[in-house]
């Protein structure tokens, strides 16, 4: 495994979401709350529009870390994995019917254990230039 450097950005990605993404996630997760697909219901409870499931944002945001762990694995070795992942949902992501939304994810290696076997990656996740997840931290085992 390549030695990762603390403080380095290890992955960066912009992910487009559209209403189809929300319908697909509703089916995959079993969360059929209509605020995630019906404009009238969202407006009726005072929301600015149809929102992405917080858990969709959380799920999408960790994928760059999973891919990074696979990219640094030695050939023939099992890649590292996510042992602990937490977020706070600080701002809803409105998904417009035509323009959708974009999530921008920046993953930074925040800490590596003394033995080099595990560490922490911090995520900055934003939409329209504003952070949507707080305290988004991923504990990883490197092998």
């Amino acid at each position: 495994m390549r030695a990762p450097e603390v403080g380095a950005v290890v992955a960066e990605r912009t992910v487009p979401l559209d209403r189809g993404s929300l319908v697909r996630y509703a089916g995959a997760s079993g969360d059929f709350n209509p605020i995630h697909y019906r404009d009238d219901v969202a407006a009726g409870v005072g929301l600015p529009g149809v929102l992405a499931h917080g858990m969709l944002t959380m799920g999408v945001a960790v994928q760059p870390v999973v891919d990074w762990l696979e990219s640094i694995a030695e050939p023939g070795q099992a890649p590292g994995w996510v042992t602990d992942y937490q977020v706070r949902f600080t701002r809803p992501v409105v998904v417009h019917p035509e323009d959708g939304a974009e999530l921008t994810i920046v993953a930074t290696l925040a800490q590596v254990d003394e033995d080099g076997l595990a560490g922490r990656v911090d995520l900055t996740v934003s939409s329209e230039g504003r952070t949507v997840l707080g305290k988004a931290q991923v504990r990883v085992a490197f092998a």
Partner: protein, 146 residues
């Protein structure tokens, strides 16, 4: 919300069988392109019995346990006012297709904060052998419920 909920342990939900196609469906829906989650051969080559669930997959199992909590007759939680505050998954090992996960939910905290109520529930999931696999911890904020 009923403050006496704190410390309550719900009876375990029926076991959830993690299916290969469910894992792949969930992986695609969360933008995963990981061969370990999509390709059983790649997963086996990495030492897993079958495809590996993405990190947030246990939410599918947690969902049922939380529904059970909200349905407690004395919970006093109005579902239409509930907002997801935060979420955590703490693993002992990855979840793979073929796992049978039995979830048990414990209400770890009930708080009042600025006119809202907050309830934190930890759903522990064990496998067929009774070994811990993952704990999903969720804080729900109930707006304007004081």
């Amino acid at each position: 919300m009923n403050p006496d909920l704190q410390g309550r342990v719900l009876p375990p939900s029926p076991p959830y069988l993690v299916g290969r196609e469910k894992v792949r469906e969930f992986a695609r829906a969360t933008g995963s392109t990981s061969p370990l989650s999509l390709d059983p051969e790649a997963a086996r080559a990495a030492g897993h019995a079958d495809v590996v669930a993405p990190p947030t997959f246990p939410v599918v199992v947690q969902e049922g346990a939380l529904a059970q909590l909200l349905a407690e007759p004395d919970a006093g939680i109005d579902f239409s006012l509930v907002v997801h505050g935060d979420q955590r998954f703490s693993y002992s090992r990855p979840v793979v297709a073929g796992d049978e996960l039995t979830p048990t939910l414990t209400v770890t905290s009930v708080k009042q904060l600025g006119g809202n109520s907050m309830v934190t529930a930890a759903t522990e999931m064990v496998d067929q052998a009774g070994e811990h696999v993952v704990t999903a911890t969720s804080t729900l904020v109930v707006r304007g419920d004081s």
